[in-house]
């Protein structure tokens, strides 16, 4: 179980307080898949970093209740450039274990197995720049899944992929999630993706980020992208977009104003 209670985050830049997150309360049950959508700069990534323990909130609290065991509470999947260009596919995947002090022989073996599960057998000795974007993100997934963290944090992992590859990766992610039963917090700016993947879609406002809406997605699982499902997704998409539109406009105005000084 993951719970955020009245989280606030301010940044102080040149003696000026810049609010990033405003009173965020969110609860994720075990094995729940939560999508978070919001305009750019709304503090989505900050929220994820707070859950990952990389950034401390200014106030409010974070509760993570997970089964005991030799694993971290969270694992993070980053955007496309998150792999180390200087490590091979195998070493990139195994890095999550290496960081935890797992011995080379064991981590190599486990990474090989996980890469095989991701359909990357035979690519272990390649470097990231030799892979397609979709393959790179599968290495990132392998790296994250290897540490057995019960909570998976994903920061727009498929945003740089082309539409077809993204569809394939979304399907593969849902398969993995069904097998491994992780709690997923998935950040995206793509409303359709948020609906297709999530049990719930949380809509955030422009900066400072607040939660505007928390929508339960009534689609059955396993989800198949057939015509009726697509129709439902499109319908919900407009419902969410009607809330989001004003926020995106406001965020756009903000960035234009700051660009003009």
């Amino acid at each position: 179980m993951l719970a955020l209670l009245h989280l606030y985050k301010h940044y102080i830049v040149n003696d000026e307080t810049i609010p990033a997150l405003h009173d965020i309360s969110l609860r994720a049950a075990d094995h729940e898949f939560i999508s978070i959508v919001g305009p750019s700069g709304c503090g989505k990534t900050t929220l994820l970093k707070i859950i990952a323990g990389l950034v401390a909130p200014t106030s409010g609290s974070l509760h993570i209740d997970i089964p005991p065991g030799d694993h971290p509470s969270t694992a993070m999947v980053f955007q496309e450039q998150g792999l180390f260009p200087w490590l091979t596919v195998l070493d990139n995947a195994a890095f999550s274990l290496e960081a935890r002090g797992v011995r080379r022989r064991e981590r190599t073996e486990r990474a090989r197995t996980m890469l095989a599960r991701m359909g990357l057998s035979g690519f272990e000795a390649r470097y990231p720049h030799q892979l397609s974007g979709g393959m790179r993100q599968r290495v990132s997934l392998a790296r994250a899944f290897l540490v057995d963290a019960p909570i998976l944090l994903m920061d727009e992992p498929f945003s740089a992929l082309d539409a077809q590859t993204r569809l394939l990766m979304q399907g593969q992610l849902l398969d993995l999630w069904r097998e491994d039963r992780k709690t997923v917090i998935y950040i995206t700016h793509d409303v359709e993706e948020a609906i297709y993947l999530g049990d719930r879609v949380v809509v955030m406002s422009a900066r400072p980020g607040r939660i505007l809406q928390d929508i339960t997605i009534p689609l059955e699982r396993p989800r198949v992208l057939d015509v009726p499902t697509m129709a439902k997704i499109t319908e919900m998409r407009w419902q969410i977009w009607s809330v989001l539109e004003a926020e995106v406009r406001s965020s756009l105005r903000d960035s234009m104003a700051s660009a003009l000084g």
């Binding site: 998150g82 180390f84 935890r100 720049h129």
Partner: protein, 251 residues
């Protein structure tokens, strides 16, 4: 057909140039005092290599350069890594680097000679200084240029600082560090030749100077060929080392 020809074009051009030079020198169209025939230069070079004379000069230059460069880069590299890592130390030390770096190291040579005497020590110190600055500046730049995202990835998986340094900072900074080492080697070669021209009995710079004083231009050219070969050899070696250290950069 055409690509093969194109590949050989530079070589062809060089031969044509040398042939015209040879002809012009033998026909006395140009002054052989300034432009001795390529065949004469080649013969001088060959003779000097055979007697071991040129090899000995080369050995002197190479030794001084190796000592100076390894001292300069050997201090600059770890120091640069520390300064890149610690913003506080960087603020303290950077002003000194910024002030001393633009100073031509040849201008410091007399001062170094006053302090350390007219000997090998002074020469090596100046060569070391010339290699030190490009290496330290590029090392700092390299460390600062490591993508924050990569550091965040490592932190998110709980990597210790040592691990982050070895697996993220060092390889991330390496391409820029290697280009600094390249600049450092260039500077070291230039400075070692200059110090040998200023005062030395042996070494390629000394040989150049002696050839000029005795007006043996073919000797001068022959020595320049050896210096050029030395520079070329160093860069070949460096590119082999770079490929070994950064296998991910090869296509």
């Amino acid at each position: 057909m055409l690509p093969a020809l194109e590949r050989r074009a530079p070589l062809l051009l060089a031969f044509t140039f040398l042939a015209i030079w040879e002809l012009a020198a033998s026909q006395k169209w140009i002054s052989t005092l300034f432009f001795p025939a390529p065949s004469l230069i080649a013969r001088t070079l060959f003779d000097n290599l055979r007697t071991g004379e040129m090899i000995e000069q080369l050995a002197h230059t190479l030794t001084r350069m190796a000592l100076g460069f390894s001292a300069g880069a050997g201090i600059a590299l770890p120091l640069g890594l520390i300064l890149g890592w610690s913003a506080r130390l960087r603020r303290l030390v950077m002003p000194f680097i910024a002030v001393i770096q633009p100073l031509p190291k040849t201008a410091v040579l007399p001062l170094i000679m006053v302090i350390f005497g007219i000997g090998e020590q002074s020469r090596v110190i100046v060569v070391a200084m010339s290699a030190f600055f490009p290496v330290i500046v590029s090392t700092i730049t390299g460390v600062l240029g490591v993508a924050p995202l990569h550091i965040e990835v490592a932190q998110s998986y709980g990597a210790a600082r040592r691990k982050i340094f070895a697996r993220v900072i060092l390889p991330g900074a390496l391409p820029v560090i290697m280009s600094g080492i390249n600049l450092g080697l260039n500077a070291a070669l230039t400075i070692v030749i200059v110090t040998e021209i200023i005062y030395a009995q042996r070494g390629l710079g000394a040989a150049v100077w002696l050839a000029w004083q005795t007006f043996r231009t073919e000797e001068l050219y022959a020595t320049l060929v050896v210096i050029a070969a030395l520079g070329l050899g160093i860069h070949q070696l460096l590119s082999v080392v770079s490929r070994r250290l950064m296998p991910w950069r090869t296509e």
